[in-house]
């Protein structure tokens, strides 16, 4: 095993609470009707290409990507399109979606290989792989949902030296990536090889936090057993510290390189991909299977049966909560994602999509906003910030709508990890204000660049 590495600036240690780590992935039964949102990635929602009354097959394309940063959407089930309408997403806003009345039996669209056999032979070349990833609508499944094919297109004049697989899973509670690593180890490793081929490099590094020893050992063992197949892949244990899985943090920890302010990771010669996305790449390239399902962790301290479920997109989240034993009495907050970066939901029946990594039910004691007081200038937020920013200052100037100052103080470098807010003894919602400042400042910078 390689010695443990980490990033050094800032970081916090929230309670891990990986309650569902030992629970195997279960297939989640689909309801009669599924509701598939057309906007499932960062960027523009897809254009709907089916009409009411059409019969769609599992894996059939139903929405085409619109614009550069956008991803295709496929039907997660076989059935008839009941309507193309709007549905409330987790924020409470209405978003366009396709309603599909499902048939019992899956009938797969043409060209999709339905098999559980491990396929290790990579037949496609770099360009074909990227096209396939694009066609299958794969996005970053850690939560940010950035289209994966855009990441793989290394710009002219740059070279990708490493493919880094982000298996840190530093968010407390979430265990979906961990379970996938344990249960689909070989498929995942082939996925890494495919990514390496796509960006033309022979180095692939899997970064995992050291609290997932089982996965580290299993991966090490598998790679050693099949040296010929997985040559060039290395497992790098990382210190258990939040946000170890931040893109910039994991690059720094593994390669020691720092992504310059305002630049993309490729500047450091790294392409960072999430575990679930890597598995999806395997399925897409080897089996031609588009992204229509993912693993969702449903968890919380007072949840009766927490679990890791393989969920087809469009399944309403409240069914998952029911399967986990229903909403316990003492729940005050339902969070889409993990406790650090996830967002509280406005409704619980929102459909699961590509970015839904977990559904976390927070108990009253955990979620209760303790009373907010004034900043005491303790500086803990600045110590915790992994980007070396001064959150107390950004909070103040954002509140005053002084966007010159937010820009000068590098608000755009904030990765929105929430470490500052987590550590603030005055309970100031620092991240809210910083996000506000970041959005406003970003808009100003964009307008200025267009001139």
């Amino acid at each position: 095993m390689n010695p443990i590495k980490t990033f050094h600036k800032g970081g916090v240690h929230p309670e891990e609470n990986k309650l569902s780590a030992n629970l195997p992935i279960q297939d989640f039964p689909m309801p009669k009707q599924i509701i598939v949102p057309l906007g499932q990635c960062l960027g523009a929602p897809a254009d709907c290409i089916v009409n009411k009354g059409d019969r769609v097959l599992t894996g059939q394309l139903i929405g085409t990507a619109k614009g550069f940063i956008s991803a295709n959407v496929h039907s997660p089930a076989t059935g008839t399109v009941a309507k193309v309408d709007v549905v409330m997403d987790h924020t409470g806003y209405y978003k366009p979606a396709v309603f599909i009345d499902r048939e019992e039996q899956d009938e797969w669209a043409e060209g999709i290989l339905v098999t559980d056999k491990l396929l290790t032979d990579i037949k496609l070349d770099s360009k074909q792989i990227i096209d396939k990833v694009k066609e299958c609508g794969i996005v970053g499944m850690g939560g940010a949902t950035f289209p994966t094919h855009v990441k793989l297109m290394v710009p002219e004049g740059k070279k990708a030296e490493y493919v880094i697989i982000n298996a840190a899973e530093c968010e407390p509670y979430l265990t979906c990536d961990f379970r996938l690593l344990l249960e689909k180890t070989q498929e995942f490793l082939v996925g890494v090889k495919i990514l390496m081929k796509a960006v033309n490099t022979d180095k692939g590094i899997i970064g995992i936090e050291a609290n997932k020893m089982e996965a580290i050992e299993l991966l090490d063992k598998t790679i050693n057993e099949h040296k010929d197949l997985y040559a060039g892949i290395e497992v790098q244990p990382l210190k258990t510290k939040y946000p170890q899985g931040g893109e910039k943090q994991i690059i720094k920890a593994i390669t020691g390189r720092e992504v310059p302010s305002g630049k993309l990771p490729i500047e450091t010669g790294c392409v960072v991909v999430n575990v679930a996305s890597t598995y999806a790449v395997y399925e897409a390239v080897q089996k031609n299977k588009p992204l229509i399902e993912r693993i969702v962790t449903v968890t919380g301290k007072s949840v009766k049966n927490p679990g890791n479920f393989r969920v087809r997109f469009g399944t309403p989240a409240d069914l998952l909560i029911e399967a986990a034993g229903g909403l316990p009495e003492d729940i005050t907050d339902v969070i889409n994602g993990g406790p650090m970066m996830g967002k509280s939901v406005s409704v619980t029946n929102f459909p699961c999509i590509k970015g839904t990594s977990g559904i976390l039910l927070m108990t009253l004691r955990e979620a209760q906003d303790r009373r907010q007081t004034n900043c005491i200038r303790c500086g803990r937020c600045a110590m915790a910030c992994p980007m070396g920013l001064q959150p107390f200052l950004l909070h103040k100037v954002a509140k005053q709508n002084d966007f010159d100052e937010t820009e000068k103080n590098h608000v755009m470098d904030c990765i929105e990890c929430g470490s500052c807010e987590f550590t603030c003894p005055a309970n100031i919602p620092l991240l809210d204000y910083i996000r506000y400042g970041k959005a406003k400042t970003g808009a100003i910078i964009k307008a200025r660049n267009q001139k």
Partner: protein
């Protein structure tokens, strides 16, 4: 010792004298002629620099007035919402163009009673931020978030959030119709409309353009786009914007008929005489007639009669 003193004094004195002469000539050469009228005109303006006139500030408006007066001999189209433009015109030796007094109206009535909270918000108290985060406590994605961005921006202290309804209320005495609040609101809820004859005005107190079925889910007083008002209006002043009725103030004659037919009580008719108590049948359909006490200071009885601007349908 005294020599040093004398030399210093002499050097500084001569230096001062020479520089004064230089400065005098430079000042003469680069003198900017500024019309003293600008200062006078500016003195008539409130000095709030609110931008309601469309210029960068009060001085910019004053300059524009002086310029236009010199070129065209009038100041038509130039107006500070907070000032009697006749005063400015008098300074410039003119008569002011016509200027219709305006007022801000809040086009949302999704109070805590009408659109009960489904979730509880605990984030930053900025509407613009909350707007990016979620639909709203009541669930309406077009309704007021109640965090008071508009209140913070008003230069004239004319807005405050009503504690009971959670909605901003315009003080008709203080509002000058500058429209800063309307430009601030991330959801475009506030509109600046003409005050109307006798201060009577009719408007749709809702901003939700969604289909009726979606509106009903979250709010008991939102416009459902049934178009009853549109058919009722004798002056064709009402148009549909998506599934939302909009009353064009230029065409509206303030007859108040639409307000009576609206099944949702979405249309507010302000400052109309209260309906006579002997026709209780109308009560159900008639909105905006239940006066609500103003917060502190103002004696409830006297004010609510004359100024039902801050009324809500309970």
């Amino acid at each position: 010792m005294s020599n040093t003193l004398l030399i210093s004094l002499a050097v500084l004195g001569i230096l001062g004298g020479v520089l004064a002469v230089v400065l005098y000539f430079v000042a003469q050469k680069f003198k900017v002629e500024e019309n003293p009228l600008i200062d006078e005109a500016e003195a008539c303006l409130p000095g709030a620099n609110c931008g309601g006139c469309g210029f960068a500030g009060c001085r910019a408006l004053a300059e524009a007035c002086v310029k236009q007066a010199a070129e065209k001999g009038n100041i038509d189209g130039l107006a500070c919402p907070g000032t009697d433009m006749n005063k400015v015109a008098a300074v410039l030796g003119l008569t002011a163009g016509t200027f219709e007094p305006k007022i801000a109206v809040v086009r949302c009535n999704g109070s805590c009673q009408n659109s009960p909270s489904k979730v509880h918000y605990e984030g930053a108290d900025i509407c613009a931020f909350a707007n990016t985060l979620y639909a709203g406590e009541g669930g309406c994605s077009k309704g007021c978030l109640g965090l008071g961005d508009c209140v913070k921006k008003c230069n004239f202290d004319a807005l405050h959030i009503d504690k009971e309804t959670g909605l901003p209320v315009v003080d008709p005495d203080k509002c000058v119709g500058c429209g800063v609040c309307a430009r601030t609101c991330p959801r475009g809820i506030i509109e600046v409309r003409p005050r109307g004859k006798k201060d009577r005005r009719v408007y749709v107190c809702c901003s939700n353009t969604d289909k009726g079925a979606l509106v009903i889910k979250n709010c008991s007083v939102g416009c459902i786009g049934c178009q009853k008002c549109l058919k009722e209006c004798p002056f064709e002043a009402i148009e549909m914007r998506g599934n939302l009725a909009y009353i064009d103030p230029a065409k509206c004659k303030a007859c108040g008929k639409c307000a009576k037919v609206c099944p949702r009580g979405s249309i507010h008719a302000i400052n109309f005489p209260a309906p006579k108590p002997e026709v209780p049948a109308l009560q159900g359909a008639e909105p905006a007639v239940k006066p609500q006490p103003k917060p502190e200071a103002q004696p409830v009885e006297t004010k609510t009669e004359v100024k039902p601007e801050n009324t809500v349908t309970a």
